[in-house]
Amino acid sequence: MIRFLQIFFFSLVLSISLGAQGHNHNHQGDGHNHDHSGHNHDHGAHDGHNHGSHDGHHHGEKSHSAHGGDHSHAPTCGGDHHGEFDPGETAFHHIADANVYSIGPLQIPLPCILYAPKKGWDVFMSNKFKFKTIGHGDGSKAYNGYVLDGGSIRRVKDAGFPEGEPVINGFIHHDKKSYVCVGNKMYETEAKSTADGGLFGGGITSFYDFSITKNVASMILVVLFLSWLFLGMAKQYKIREGMAPKGKQSFMETMFVFIQDEVAIPFLGNKYMKFLPFLMALFFFILGLNLFGQVPFFGGSNVTGNLGVTMVLGILAFIVTNMNGNKHYWEHILWMPGAPAWVKTILTPVEVLGIFIKPLTLMLRLFANMTAGHMVVIIFVSLIFIFGELGENLVGGYGTAVASTLLTLFMMSIELLVAFIQAFAFTILTASYIGAAVEEHDDHH
Protein backbone atom coordinates (compact mmCIF):
# COMPACT_ATOMS: atom_id res chain seq x y z
CA MET A 1 0.00 0.00 0.00
CA ILE A 2 2.72 2.42 0.99
CA ARG A 3 4.85 1.30 -1.91
CA PHE A 4 1.99 1.91 -4.21
CA LEU A 5 1.49 5.34 -2.72
CA GLN A 6 5.15 6.09 -3.16
CA ILE A 7 5.22 5.01 -6.74
CA PHE A 8 2.24 7.25 -7.30
CA PHE A 9 3.97 10.17 -5.65
CA PHE A 10 7.17 9.39 -7.45
CA SER A 11 5.47 9.69 -10.81
CA LEU A 12 3.73 12.81 -9.56
CA VAL A 13 7.07 14.25 -8.59
CA LEU A 14 8.52 13.47 -11.94
CA SER A 15 5.65 15.05 -13.77
CA ILE A 16 5.89 18.12 -11.55
CA SER A 17 9.60 18.41 -12.05
CA LEU A 18 9.32 17.97 -15.79
CA GLY A 19 6.33 20.24 -16.09
CA ALA A 20 7.93 22.86 -13.93
CA GLN A 21 10.80 22.92 -16.32
CA GLY A 22 8.49 24.37 -18.90
CA HIS A 23 6.32 26.66 -16.83
CA ASN A 24 8.12 28.01 -13.88
CA HIS A 25 11.09 29.93 -15.01
CA ASN A 26 11.01 32.60 -12.40
CA HIS A 27 13.61 35.05 -11.39
CA GLN A 28 15.56 34.25 -8.34
CA GLY A 29 16.09 37.37 -6.36
CA ASP A 30 18.71 36.33 -3.84
CA GLY A 31 22.42 36.85 -3.77
CA HIS A 32 23.00 33.96 -6.06
CA ASN A 33 22.58 35.91 -9.21
CA HIS A 34 26.06 37.13 -10.06
CA ASP A 35 27.92 34.73 -12.25
CA HIS A 36 26.25 31.48 -11.54
CA SER A 37 24.67 31.89 -14.84
CA GLY A 38 23.24 28.60 -15.87
CA HIS A 39 23.89 26.73 -12.74
CA ASN A 40 20.46 26.40 -11.31
CA HIS A 41 18.55 25.78 -14.45
CA ASP A 42 18.94 24.44 -17.84
CA HIS A 43 20.31 21.09 -16.95
CA GLY A 44 21.37 19.05 -19.89
CA ALA A 45 19.10 16.20 -19.01
CA HIS A 46 15.97 18.24 -19.16
CA ASP A 47 17.05 19.86 -22.33
CA GLY A 48 17.82 16.52 -23.77
CA HIS A 49 14.36 15.11 -23.61
CA ASN A 50 12.26 18.18 -23.28
CA HIS A 51 13.59 20.22 -26.07
CA GLY A 52 10.71 20.12 -28.43
CA SER A 53 7.89 21.11 -26.12
CA HIS A 54 10.19 23.23 -24.05
CA ASP A 55 11.11 25.54 -26.82
CA GLY A 56 7.59 25.47 -28.12
CA HIS A 57 5.73 27.11 -25.29
CA HIS A 58 8.46 28.47 -23.17
CA HIS A 59 9.80 31.31 -25.22
CA GLY A 60 6.55 32.99 -25.89
CA GLU A 61 5.60 34.13 -22.43
CA LYS A 62 8.16 34.20 -19.73
CA SER A 63 11.66 34.13 -21.08
CA HIS A 64 13.96 37.05 -21.17
CA SER A 65 16.81 37.74 -23.46
CA ALA A 66 19.57 36.09 -21.51
CA HIS A 67 17.54 33.02 -21.13
CA GLY A 68 16.68 32.69 -24.73
CA GLY A 69 20.36 32.78 -25.40
CA ASP A 70 20.84 29.57 -23.52
CA HIS A 71 18.82 27.72 -26.03
CA SER A 72 19.51 29.34 -29.30
CA HIS A 73 23.21 30.03 -28.89
CA ALA A 74 26.01 28.40 -27.06
CA PRO A 75 26.25 29.80 -23.55
CA THR A 76 28.98 32.28 -22.82
CA CYS A 77 30.74 33.37 -19.71
CA GLY A 78 29.96 36.70 -18.20
CA GLY A 79 26.46 36.90 -19.58
CA ASP A 80 23.79 38.57 -17.52
CA HIS A 81 21.95 35.52 -16.33
CA HIS A 82 19.54 35.15 -13.50
CA GLY A 83 19.29 32.06 -11.42
CA GLU A 84 15.97 30.31 -11.60
CA PHE A 85 14.19 27.91 -9.32
CA ASP A 86 13.80 24.44 -10.73
CA PRO A 87 12.25 21.94 -8.31
CA GLY A 88 13.39 18.95 -10.34
CA GLU A 89 16.95 20.08 -10.28
CA THR A 90 16.64 20.98 -6.60
CA ALA A 91 15.38 17.52 -5.77
CA PHE A 92 18.07 15.82 -7.83
CA HIS A 93 20.69 18.00 -6.23
CA HIS A 94 19.48 17.30 -2.70
CA ILE A 95 19.41 13.56 -2.99
CA ALA A 96 22.73 13.38 -4.80
CA ASP A 97 26.07 12.73 -3.19
CA ALA A 98 28.40 15.70 -2.70
CA ASN A 99 31.93 16.57 -1.68
CA VAL A 100 30.68 19.02 0.93
CA TYR A 101 28.52 18.25 3.91
CA SER A 102 25.51 20.54 4.04
CA ILE A 103 23.74 21.26 7.29
CA GLY A 104 20.95 23.50 6.15
CA PRO A 105 22.65 26.16 4.05
CA LEU A 106 25.94 25.62 5.88
CA GLN A 107 28.63 23.85 3.86
CA ILE A 108 31.31 21.85 5.64
CA PRO A 109 34.44 20.73 3.80
CA LEU A 110 35.21 17.03 3.44
CA PRO A 111 38.40 15.20 2.46
CA CYS A 112 38.86 14.68 -1.27
CA ILE A 113 40.73 11.67 -2.61
CA LEU A 114 40.95 11.86 -6.37
CA TYR A 115 42.67 9.66 -8.86
CA ALA A 116 43.26 10.40 -12.50
CA PRO A 117 45.10 7.60 -14.31
CA LYS A 118 47.36 10.00 -16.19
CA LYS A 119 47.91 12.37 -13.30
CA GLY A 120 48.03 10.27 -10.15
CA TRP A 121 46.48 10.83 -6.74
CA ASP A 122 45.30 14.13 -5.29
CA VAL A 123 44.39 14.25 -1.63
CA PHE A 124 43.17 17.48 -0.03
CA MET A 125 40.25 19.01 1.85
CA SER A 126 37.41 20.35 -0.26
CA ASN A 127 37.80 23.84 1.26
CA LYS A 128 40.76 24.22 -1.12
CA PHE A 129 38.03 25.16 -3.59
CA LYS A 130 37.21 28.18 -1.43
CA PHE A 131 33.48 27.60 -1.52
CA LYS A 132 31.19 29.80 0.50
CA THR A 133 30.31 28.39 3.89
CA ILE A 134 26.74 29.55 3.43
CA GLY A 135 25.80 28.80 -0.12
CA HIS A 136 25.32 26.22 -2.80
CA GLY A 137 28.68 24.53 -2.69
CA ASP A 138 30.23 26.13 -5.76
CA GLY A 139 33.97 26.50 -5.47
CA SER A 140 35.38 29.95 -6.25
CA LYS A 141 38.80 28.52 -7.06
CA ALA A 142 40.04 25.55 -9.00
CA TYR A 143 42.63 23.18 -7.57
CA ASN A 144 45.02 21.08 -9.62
CA GLY A 145 42.62 20.97 -12.52
CA TYR A 146 39.60 20.08 -10.36
CA VAL A 147 36.64 22.33 -9.64
CA LEU A 148 33.74 22.13 -7.19
CA ASP A 149 30.47 22.50 -9.07
CA GLY A 150 27.33 22.40 -6.95
CA GLY A 151 29.04 20.47 -4.20
CA SER A 152 30.52 17.87 -6.52
CA ILE A 153 34.06 17.65 -7.80
CA ARG A 154 34.59 17.71 -11.54
CA ARG A 155 37.76 17.55 -13.50
CA VAL A 156 38.42 20.07 -16.24
CA LYS A 157 38.64 18.29 -19.55
CA ASP A 158 40.04 20.99 -21.80
CA ALA A 159 43.76 21.40 -22.03
CA GLY A 160 45.01 24.89 -21.47
CA PHE A 161 43.14 25.33 -18.20
CA PRO A 162 45.31 27.57 -15.99
CA GLU A 163 47.62 25.74 -13.58
CA GLY A 164 47.47 26.28 -9.84
CA GLU A 165 44.44 27.88 -8.26
CA PRO A 166 42.74 30.19 -10.76
CA VAL A 167 39.66 32.15 -9.71
CA ILE A 168 36.40 30.78 -11.12
CA ASN A 169 33.70 33.11 -12.36
CA GLY A 170 30.92 30.60 -12.62
CA PHE A 171 29.58 27.36 -13.94
CA ILE A 172 27.44 26.73 -16.98
CA HIS A 173 25.39 23.61 -17.59
CA HIS A 174 24.19 23.32 -21.13
CA ASP A 175 23.09 20.51 -23.37
CA LYS A 176 24.35 17.63 -21.19
CA LYS A 177 27.71 19.32 -20.75
CA SER A 178 29.10 21.39 -17.93
CA TYR A 179 31.54 24.23 -18.23
CA VAL A 180 33.59 26.31 -15.86
CA CYS A 181 34.39 29.97 -16.47
CA VAL A 182 37.79 31.40 -15.74
CA GLY A 183 38.04 34.97 -16.84
CA ASN A 184 35.89 35.08 -19.92
CA LYS A 185 36.90 31.66 -21.16
CA MET A 186 34.83 28.51 -20.92
CA TYR A 187 36.37 25.16 -20.17
CA GLU A 188 34.43 21.92 -20.36
CA THR A 189 34.39 19.78 -17.23
CA GLU A 190 33.94 16.05 -17.01
CA ALA A 191 31.25 14.09 -15.24
CA LYS A 192 32.15 11.69 -12.48
CA SER A 193 33.33 8.23 -13.32
CA THR A 194 30.43 5.91 -12.71
CA ALA A 195 29.94 2.20 -13.03
CA ASP A 196 26.71 2.28 -15.00
CA GLY A 197 28.42 1.63 -18.28
CA GLY A 198 26.90 4.74 -19.83
CA LEU A 199 23.40 3.35 -19.34
CA PHE A 200 22.17 6.19 -17.16
CA GLY A 201 24.17 8.99 -18.66
CA GLY A 202 27.37 8.19 -16.77
CA GLY A 203 30.40 6.19 -17.66
CA ILE A 204 34.07 6.00 -17.09
CA THR A 205 35.83 9.33 -17.48
CA SER A 206 39.38 10.42 -16.88
CA PHE A 207 39.22 10.54 -13.08
CA TYR A 208 37.88 8.61 -10.14
CA ASP A 209 36.53 10.19 -6.99
CA PHE A 210 37.37 8.16 -3.89
CA SER A 211 36.60 11.09 -1.61
CA ILE A 212 34.95 10.90 1.74
CA THR A 213 31.77 12.34 0.30
CA LYS A 214 28.64 13.36 2.15
CA ASN A 215 27.28 9.84 1.87
CA VAL A 216 30.52 8.25 3.04
CA ALA A 217 30.73 10.70 5.94
CA SER A 218 27.12 9.92 6.91
CA MET A 219 27.86 6.22 6.68
CA ILE A 220 30.90 6.63 8.93
CA LEU A 221 28.90 8.68 11.45
CA VAL A 222 26.05 6.17 11.52
CA VAL A 223 28.37 3.17 11.74
CA LEU A 224 30.34 4.81 14.56
CA PHE A 225 27.12 5.51 16.40
CA LEU A 226 25.88 1.96 15.88
CA SER A 227 29.25 0.57 16.97
CA TRP A 228 29.14 2.64 20.13
CA LEU A 229 25.60 1.49 20.76
CA PHE A 230 26.20 -2.21 20.21
CA LEU A 231 29.64 -2.47 21.75
CA GLY A 232 28.25 -0.71 24.83
CA MET A 233 25.33 -3.07 24.80
CA ALA A 234 27.58 -6.13 24.51
CA LYS A 235 29.65 -4.81 27.41
CA GLN A 236 26.55 -4.35 29.52
CA TYR A 237 25.50 -7.92 28.85
CA LYS A 238 28.88 -8.99 30.15
CA ILE A 239 29.04 -6.89 33.31
CA ARG A 240 25.35 -7.03 34.11
CA GLU A 241 25.01 -10.75 33.57
CA GLY A 242 22.09 -12.21 35.45
CA MET A 243 20.52 -8.80 35.88
CA ALA A 244 17.55 -7.20 34.16
CA PRO A 245 18.43 -5.18 31.01
CA LYS A 246 18.91 -1.46 31.45
CA GLY A 247 19.52 1.66 29.32
CA LYS A 248 21.01 0.85 25.91
CA GLN A 249 20.24 -2.80 26.48
CA SER A 250 16.52 -2.42 26.89
CA PHE A 251 16.45 0.21 24.15
CA MET A 252 17.94 -2.00 21.46
CA GLU A 253 17.00 -5.41 22.75
CA THR A 254 13.47 -5.27 21.37
CA MET A 255 14.68 -4.77 17.82
CA PHE A 256 17.56 -7.19 18.20
CA VAL A 257 15.31 -9.92 19.53
CA PHE A 258 12.72 -9.12 16.88
CA ILE A 259 15.20 -9.65 14.05
CA GLN A 260 16.64 -12.70 15.76
CA ASP A 261 13.34 -14.39 16.55
CA GLU A 262 11.19 -13.23 13.65
CA VAL A 263 13.76 -13.19 10.86
CA ALA A 264 16.88 -15.23 11.58
CA ILE A 265 15.47 -18.23 13.44
CA PRO A 266 12.35 -18.90 11.31
CA PHE A 267 14.32 -18.88 8.06
CA LEU A 268 17.64 -20.30 9.12
CA GLY A 269 16.66 -22.71 11.89
CA ASN A 270 19.56 -24.00 13.91
CA LYS A 271 22.11 -22.38 11.55
CA TYR A 272 20.96 -18.91 12.50
CA MET A 273 23.97 -18.09 14.63
CA LYS A 274 26.28 -18.26 11.62
CA PHE A 275 24.33 -15.64 9.66
CA LEU A 276 23.10 -13.55 12.55
CA PRO A 277 25.93 -10.98 12.37
CA PHE A 278 25.29 -10.43 8.65
CA LEU A 279 21.54 -10.01 9.08
CA MET A 280 21.92 -7.76 12.10
CA ALA A 281 24.54 -5.67 10.32
CA LEU A 282 22.23 -5.34 7.30
CA PHE A 283 19.20 -4.39 9.35
CA PHE A 284 20.83 -1.85 11.61
CA PHE A 285 23.05 -0.39 8.86
CA ILE A 286 20.04 0.19 6.61
CA LEU A 287 17.77 1.33 9.43
CA GLY A 288 20.39 3.68 10.83
CA LEU A 289 21.03 5.28 7.46
CA ASN A 290 17.33 5.43 6.57
CA LEU A 291 16.58 7.26 9.79
CA PHE A 292 19.67 9.45 9.55
CA GLY A 293 18.53 10.59 6.12
CA GLN A 294 15.16 11.62 7.57
CA VAL A 295 16.64 14.16 9.96
CA PRO A 296 15.94 17.56 8.43
CA PHE A 297 18.77 20.08 8.21
CA PHE A 298 21.36 17.49 9.16
CA GLY A 299 22.64 16.70 5.73
CA GLY A 300 19.52 14.79 4.80
CA SER A 301 21.91 12.33 3.27
CA ASN A 302 20.22 9.97 0.89
CA VAL A 303 22.63 7.11 1.49
CA THR A 304 20.30 4.14 1.23
CA GLY A 305 18.64 5.90 -1.69
CA ASN A 306 21.86 5.75 -3.66
CA LEU A 307 22.12 2.87 -6.07
CA GLY A 308 25.82 2.44 -5.34
CA VAL A 309 25.14 1.73 -1.68
CA THR A 310 22.24 -0.65 -2.25
CA MET A 311 24.27 -2.34 -4.98
CA VAL A 312 27.02 -3.18 -2.51
CA LEU A 313 24.44 -4.56 -0.06
CA GLY A 314 22.75 -6.55 -2.83
CA ILE A 315 26.03 -7.97 -4.05
CA LEU A 316 27.01 -8.98 -0.52
CA ALA A 317 23.63 -10.67 -0.05
CA PHE A 318 24.24 -12.47 -3.36
CA ILE A 319 27.71 -13.59 -2.29
CA VAL A 320 26.63 -14.75 1.17
CA THR A 321 23.66 -16.65 -0.27
CA ASN A 322 25.51 -18.45 -3.04
CA MET A 323 28.72 -19.09 -1.12
CA ASN A 324 26.65 -21.01 1.40
CA GLY A 325 24.41 -22.79 -1.07
CA ASN A 326 24.44 -26.52 -0.45
CA LYS A 327 24.15 -29.42 -2.89
CA HIS A 328 20.35 -29.41 -2.80
CA TYR A 329 20.19 -25.71 -3.54
CA TRP A 330 22.30 -26.00 -6.66
CA GLU A 331 20.54 -29.19 -7.67
CA HIS A 332 17.21 -27.44 -7.49
CA ILE A 333 18.50 -24.56 -9.57
CA LEU A 334 20.44 -26.40 -12.22
CA TRP A 335 18.50 -29.62 -12.65
CA MET A 336 15.26 -29.66 -10.71
CA PRO A 337 14.84 -33.20 -9.41
CA GLY A 338 11.54 -34.87 -10.14
CA ALA A 339 10.55 -32.61 -13.04
CA PRO A 340 10.15 -33.97 -16.58
CA ALA A 341 13.10 -33.25 -18.85
CA TRP A 342 11.28 -30.72 -21.01
CA VAL A 343 10.19 -28.80 -17.92
CA LYS A 344 13.77 -28.82 -16.69
CA THR A 345 14.92 -27.08 -19.85
CA ILE A 346 12.55 -24.24 -19.03
CA LEU A 347 13.09 -24.27 -15.29
CA THR A 348 16.86 -24.13 -15.32
CA PRO A 349 17.22 -20.79 -17.13
CA VAL A 350 14.45 -19.32 -14.99
CA GLU A 351 16.09 -20.49 -11.77
CA VAL A 352 19.52 -19.30 -12.89
CA LEU A 353 18.07 -15.90 -13.71
CA GLY A 354 16.39 -15.96 -10.31
CA ILE A 355 19.77 -16.11 -8.57
CA PHE A 356 20.60 -12.71 -10.04
CA ILE A 357 17.15 -11.20 -9.96
CA LYS A 358 16.79 -11.73 -6.20
CA PRO A 359 19.67 -9.44 -5.14
CA LEU A 360 18.74 -7.08 -7.97
CA THR A 361 15.26 -6.60 -6.53
CA LEU A 362 16.75 -6.10 -3.07
CA MET A 363 18.96 -3.38 -4.50
CA LEU A 364 16.22 -1.63 -6.45
CA ARG A 365 13.52 -1.87 -3.79
CA LEU A 366 15.54 -0.14 -1.12
CA PHE A 367 16.95 2.42 -3.55
CA ALA A 368 13.60 3.33 -5.09
CA ASN A 369 11.74 3.56 -1.82
CA MET A 370 14.25 5.78 -0.11
CA THR A 371 14.88 8.03 -3.11
CA ALA A 372 11.17 8.41 -3.77
CA GLY A 373 10.56 9.37 -0.15
CA HIS A 374 13.29 11.98 -0.18
CA MET A 375 12.11 13.41 -3.47
CA VAL A 376 8.50 13.65 -2.40
CA VAL A 377 9.46 15.58 0.72
CA ILE A 378 11.71 17.92 -1.26
CA ILE A 379 9.08 18.49 -3.92
CA PHE A 380 6.44 19.29 -1.32
CA VAL A 381 8.75 21.90 0.11
CA SER A 382 9.54 23.13 -3.40
CA LEU A 383 5.84 23.67 -4.03
CA ILE A 384 6.05 26.68 -1.73
CA PHE A 385 8.61 28.29 -4.02
CA ILE A 386 6.79 27.30 -7.18
CA PHE A 387 3.48 28.79 -6.12
CA GLY A 388 5.05 31.64 -4.25
CA GLU A 389 7.00 32.49 -7.41
CA LEU A 390 10.01 33.17 -5.24
CA GLY A 391 8.55 35.89 -3.12
CA GLU A 392 6.58 37.62 -5.85
CA ASN A 393 3.34 35.89 -5.04
CA LEU A 394 2.87 36.07 -1.29
CA VAL A 395 -0.62 34.61 -1.23
CA GLY A 396 0.49 31.63 -3.25
CA GLY A 397 3.58 31.28 -1.11
CA TYR A 398 1.91 31.38 2.28
CA GLY A 399 -1.10 29.36 1.14
CA THR A 400 1.09 26.62 -0.26
CA ALA A 401 3.34 26.78 2.79
CA VAL A 402 0.48 25.68 5.01
CA ALA A 403 -0.69 22.92 2.69
CA SER A 404 2.78 21.72 1.92
CA THR A 405 3.82 21.70 5.58
CA LEU A 406 0.90 19.40 6.29
CA LEU A 407 1.73 17.23 3.29
CA THR A 408 5.39 17.11 4.26
CA LEU A 409 4.47 16.17 7.81
CA PHE A 410 2.31 13.37 6.48
CA MET A 411 5.02 12.17 4.10
CA MET A 412 7.68 12.27 6.77
CA SER A 413 5.63 10.16 9.12
CA ILE A 414 5.14 7.67 6.33
CA GLU A 415 8.85 7.85 5.60
CA LEU A 416 9.57 7.02 9.22
CA LEU A 417 7.50 3.89 8.80
CA VAL A 418 9.13 3.16 5.45
CA ALA A 419 12.57 3.44 7.05
CA PHE A 420 11.71 0.52 9.31
CA ILE A 421 9.76 -1.44 6.72
CA GLN A 422 12.51 -1.24 4.12
CA ALA A 423 15.25 -2.23 6.55
CA PHE A 424 13.05 -5.10 7.69
CA ALA A 425 12.11 -6.14 4.14
CA PHE A 426 15.72 -6.18 2.99
CA THR A 427 16.75 -8.27 6.00
CA ILE A 428 13.89 -10.75 5.91
CA LEU A 429 14.26 -11.32 2.16
CA THR A 430 17.99 -11.81 2.49
CA ALA A 431 17.31 -14.26 5.32
CA SER A 432 14.83 -16.14 3.17
CA TYR A 433 17.32 -16.37 0.28
CA ILE A 434 20.05 -17.61 2.59
CA GLY A 435 17.55 -19.94 4.23
CA ALA A 436 16.63 -21.45 0.88
CA ALA A 437 20.32 -21.94 0.08
CA VAL A 438 21.26 -23.68 3.32
CA GLU A 439 18.05 -25.62 3.95
CA GLU A 440 18.44 -29.36 4.38
CA HIS A 441 16.00 -31.31 2.25
CA ASP A 442 14.91 -34.63 3.58
CA ASP A 443 12.52 -35.51 0.82
CA HIS A 444 12.87 -35.05 -2.91
CA HIS A 445 9.79 -33.63 -4.43
Partner: protein
Protein backbone atom coordinates in the same frame (compact mmCIF):
# COMPACT_ATOMS: atom_id res chain seq x y z
CA UNK B 1 16.37 7.09 -19.56
CA UNK B 2 15.91 10.66 -20.71
CA UNK B 3 15.77 12.32 -17.34
CA UNK B 4 18.41 10.20 -15.68
CA UNK B 5 21.45 12.23 -16.65
CA UNK B 6 20.81 14.47 -13.68
CA UNK B 7 19.68 11.62 -11.52
CA UNK B 8 22.97 11.20 -9.78
CA UNK B 9 21.83 8.55 -7.31
CA UNK B 10 21.21 6.00 -10.03
CA UNK B 11 24.81 6.02 -11.19
CA UNK B 12 27.01 3.97 -8.89
CA UNK B 13 30.12 5.97 -8.16
CA UNK B 14 33.33 3.96 -7.79
CA UNK B 15 34.32 5.86 -4.66
CA UNK B 16 30.97 5.21 -3.03
CA UNK B 17 31.04 1.52 -4.00
CA UNK B 18 34.51 1.25 -2.53
CA UNK B 19 33.75 3.03 0.74
CA UNK B 20 30.39 1.35 1.22
CA UNK B 21 32.02 -2.06 0.83
CA UNK B 22 34.81 -1.19 3.26
CA UNK B 23 32.53 0.37 5.86
CA UNK B 24 29.81 -2.25 5.69
CA UNK B 25 32.17 -5.24 5.71
CA UNK B 26 34.08 -3.76 8.66
CA UNK B 27 30.82 -3.14 10.48
CA UNK B 28 29.61 -6.65 9.71
CA UNK B 29 32.80 -8.43 10.74
CA UNK B 30 33.89 -6.32 13.72
CA UNK B 31 30.54 -5.50 15.28
CA UNK B 32 29.33 -8.96 14.36
CA UNK B 33 32.22 -10.52 16.21
CA UNK B 34 32.40 -8.15 19.17
CA UNK B 35 28.78 -7.18 19.61
CA UNK B 36 26.13 -9.11 17.68
CA UNK B 37 27.42 -12.58 18.50
CA UNK B 38 28.13 -11.87 22.19
CA UNK B 39 24.74 -10.18 22.51
CA UNK B 40 22.95 -13.09 20.85
CA UNK B 41 24.83 -15.52 23.07
CA UNK B 42 24.10 -13.49 26.19
CA UNK B 43 20.44 -13.38 25.20
CA UNK B 44 20.42 -17.13 24.61
CA UNK B 45 22.11 -17.70 27.94
CA UNK B 46 19.67 -15.41 29.69
CA UNK B 47 16.79 -17.21 28.04
CA UNK B 48 18.15 -20.52 29.27
CA UNK B 49 18.74 -19.05 32.72
CA UNK B 50 15.22 -17.74 32.91
CA UNK B 51 13.87 -21.07 31.68
CA UNK B 52 15.87 -23.00 34.24
CA UNK B 53 14.89 -20.55 36.96
CA UNK B 54 11.26 -21.06 36.05
CA UNK B 55 11.73 -24.81 36.01
CA UNK B 56 13.42 -24.65 39.39
CA UNK B 57 10.60 -22.58 40.80
CA UNK B 58 8.13 -25.12 39.46
CA UNK B 59 10.07 -27.96 41.04
CA UNK B 60 10.34 -26.10 44.31
CA UNK B 61 6.61 -25.56 44.24
CA UNK B 62 6.02 -29.24 43.62
CA UNK B 63 8.36 -30.13 46.44
CA UNK B 64 6.62 -27.70 48.71
CA UNK B 65 3.31 -29.27 47.86
CA UNK B 66 4.74 -32.71 48.61
CA UNK B 67 6.16 -31.50 51.91
CA UNK B 68 2.87 -29.94 52.82
CA UNK B 69 0.91 -33.11 52.19
CA UNK B 70 3.49 -35.04 54.18
CA UNK B 71 3.16 -32.58 57.02
CA UNK B 72 -0.54 -32.88 56.89
CA UNK B 73 -0.32 -36.65 57.07
CA UNK B 74 2.03 -36.36 60.02
CA UNK B 75 -0.27 -33.91 61.69
CA UNK B 76 -3.27 -36.16 61.19
CA UNK B 77 -1.33 -39.05 62.60
CA UNK B 78 -0.30 -36.99 65.57
CA UNK B 79 -3.87 -35.95 66.11
CA UNK B 80 -5.01 -39.56 66.06
CA UNK B 81 -2.31 -40.52 68.48
CA UNK B 82 -3.24 -37.73 70.77
CA UNK B 83 -6.86 -38.80 70.74
CA UNK B 84 -5.83 -42.36 71.49
CA UNK B 85 -3.60 -41.23 74.33
CA UNK B 86 -6.30 -39.08 75.78
CA UNK B 87 -8.76 -41.93 75.55
CA UNK B 88 -6.34 -44.26 77.27
CA UNK B 89 -5.66 -41.71 79.95
CA UNK B 90 -9.37 -41.28 80.54
CA UNK B 91 -9.83 -44.98 80.83
CA UNK B 92 -6.92 -45.26 83.24
CA UNK B 93 -8.30 -42.41 85.29
CA UNK B 94 -11.70 -44.04 85.52
CA UNK B 95 -10.17 -47.35 86.44
CA UNK B 96 -8.09 -45.72 89.15
CA UNK B 97 -11.04 -43.84 90.55
CA UNK B 98 -13.13 -46.98 90.65
CA UNK B 99 -10.36 -48.92 92.29
CA UNK B 100 -9.86 -46.22 94.87
CA UNK B 101 -13.55 -46.11 95.51
CA UNK B 102 -13.65 -49.87 96.00
CA UNK B 103 -10.71 -49.70 98.26
CA UNK B 104 -12.18 -46.89 100.29
CA UNK B 105 -15.40 -48.72 100.60
CA UNK B 106 -13.61 -51.83 101.76
CA UNK B 107 -11.57 -49.85 104.21
CA UNK B 108 -14.61 -48.06 105.52
CA UNK B 109 -16.49 -51.25 105.99
CA UNK B 110 -13.48 -52.80 107.63
CA UNK B 111 -13.15 -49.80 109.95
CA UNK B 112 -16.86 -49.92 110.71
CA UNK B 113 -16.82 -53.57 111.46
CA UNK B 114 -13.76 -53.28 113.73
CA UNK B 115 -15.40 -50.32 115.46
CA UNK B 116 -18.51 -52.41 116.00
CA UNK B 117 -16.42 -55.17 117.38
CA UNK B 118 -14.69 -52.76 119.73
CA UNK B 119 -17.95 -51.27 120.81
CA UNK B 120 -19.25 -54.76 121.46
CA UNK B 121 -16.15 -55.58 123.47
CA UNK B 122 -16.36 -52.34 125.40
CA UNK B 123 -19.99 -52.94 126.01
CA UNK B 124 -19.24 -56.41 127.24
CA UNK B 125 -16.44 -55.09 129.46
CA UNK B 126 -18.69 -52.36 130.83
CA UNK B 127 -21.45 -54.79 131.54
CA UNK B 128 -18.98 -57.09 133.26
CA UNK B 129 -17.69 -54.19 135.27
CA UNK B 130 -21.23 -53.12 136.19
CA UNK B 131 -21.98 -56.70 137.15
CA UNK B 132 -18.87 -56.80 139.25
CA UNK B 133 -19.63 -53.49 140.92
CA UNK B 134 -23.24 -54.37 141.49
CA UNK B 135 -22.08 -57.69 142.98
CA UNK B 136 -19.54 -55.85 145.20
CA UNK B 137 -22.16 -53.37 146.26
CA UNK B 138 -24.58 -56.08 147.01
CA UNK B 139 -21.98 -57.82 149.10
CA UNK B 140 -21.19 -54.54 150.87
CA UNK B 141 -24.81 -53.85 151.45
CA UNK B 142 -25.29 -57.31 152.61
CA UNK B 143 -22.33 -56.91 154.95
CA UNK B 144 -23.67 -53.71 156.39
CA UNK B 145 -27.13 -55.20 156.73
CA UNK B 146 -25.63 -58.07 158.45
CA UNK B 147 -23.78 -55.77 160.86
CA UNK B 148 -26.97 -53.90 161.79
CA UNK B 149 -29.35 -56.83 161.95
CA UNK B 150 -29.63 -56.61 165.66
CA UNK B 151 -31.16 -53.29 165.96
CA UNK B 152 -34.74 -53.76 164.97
CA UNK B 153 -36.73 -54.39 161.96
CA UNK B 154 -37.80 -50.90 161.32
CA UNK B 155 -34.42 -49.58 161.78
CA UNK B 156 -33.13 -52.30 159.49
CA UNK B 157 -35.43 -51.47 156.64
CA UNK B 158 -34.69 -47.74 156.92
CA UNK B 159 -31.07 -48.59 156.93
CA UNK B 160 -31.42 -50.73 153.85
CA UNK B 161 -33.19 -47.93 152.10
CA UNK B 162 -30.45 -45.46 153.10
CA UNK B 163 -27.92 -47.88 151.76
CA UNK B 164 -29.83 -48.21 148.64
CA UNK B 165 -29.87 -44.46 148.41
CA UNK B 166 -26.14 -44.52 148.88
CA UNK B 167 -25.69 -46.80 146.02
CA UNK B 168 -25.91 -44.33 143.35
CA UNK B 169 -25.71 -45.91 140.08
CA UNK B 170 -24.99 -42.62 138.90
Amino acid sequence: MFFLADFDVIRPDFGLLFWTSIIFILFWLLIGKFAFKPIAEALKKRENDIQSALDEAKNAKLEMANLKSENEALLAQAREERAAIIKEAKEAKNAMINEAREKAKEEASRITSSAMLEIENQKKAAITEVKNQVGGMAVEIAEKILKRELSGGDAQSSYVSSLVDEINLN
